[in-house]
Symmetry: C2
Subunit: 144 residues, 2 copies
DNA sequence: CTTATTTCGGATAAATTTATCCTATTTATA
DNA sequence: TATAAATAGGATAAATTTATCCGAAATAAG
């Protein structure tokens, strides 16, 4: 469904969110250990999140990554996915056609529209805050 | 959503279906031209469909690929996808965790369950016959 | 100002997916 | 039986994704 990079990005964002809740910054090392991902690769993905203004980075000593606590509820999963994989997941044609729409549909177009709408809706209505709270309450987990 | 191989596989299966409707066999060359895909790569994917008994191949002169006309309505998109990409699309965890289920959910587990169910339902309830008829009637297209 | 710490970013490597090439095998027809 | 036509399948190459390495730039603290 998502690329590896996107999976790491989602997990990383959720972990940063849980820590930002307590006013803590986190390093790529701590993140990759927490979400069980390759460190250097994860760092690259974090850069993408920073470039898209979803995560703030602080360079130098005592630096790290954080998310503005006031934005935790307004940052949606869709923004994280979009920053890494783009919007092809729920925008592109199911069969990879360039020009596929209602007026020039591929054979599975109508079928896909509904599924895609559900995915889009899910991503756009799930906030980092909600997911971070799932983790903090012990209702969900980030690894294994 | 799907791999390139899977996209080609779906399109190829639909095209073979349209031709089998008229009792015609088709060559990998004709298929790749019709669905705009690399020929040799498409031939490999066809082999997977043959191994999974979704498509029949006839070797030698006047041979080619065909689908039993009586099975067109019973072969579902899910079988084509499964033959090529496996069932990871709607079975695997959204975050790539190995052990993710209702009793040990990842942070997005519950959200994904619904989307996946929709995708699964769509794939399992769409037959090659239905898609082939969409093409024949001119309501849908296989390329561009 | 110096130093230690930390993110940034370019270069490179490994793994996977996508794509091509060529030969073997099969089969209908003459 | 010989021949031409067609799929099967192994070997290989190209492209993309995933992953690693290392030096540059930035910053807090002494």
């Amino acid at each position: 469904m998502f690329s590896k990079a996107c999976e790491y990005g989602i997990k990383a964002a959720i972990f940063i969110a849980t820590q930002s809740y307590e006013g803590k910054r986190v390093s790529p090392k701590a993140i990759s250990e927490e979400i069980d991902s390759p460190q250097a690769f994860t760092a690259k993905i974090l850069q993408a999140l920073v470039r898209n203004d979803l995560v703030t980075s602080v360079k130098g000593a005592y630096g790290g990554f954080e998310i503005d606590r006031n934005q935790l509820s307004s940052i949606k999963l869709s923004q994280v996915v979009n920053a890494i994989d783009g919007d092809s997941i729920y925008k592109g044609c199911g069969l990879g056609l360039h020009k596929c729409d209602a007026s020039h549909p591929c054979s599975v177009h109508d079928k896909f529209v509904a599924v895609r709408a559900g995915l889009k809706d899910m991503l756009e209505n799930t906030s980092l805050e909600e997911l971070a709270l799932n983790i903090k309450s012990g209702d969900a987990f980030l690894k294994v």
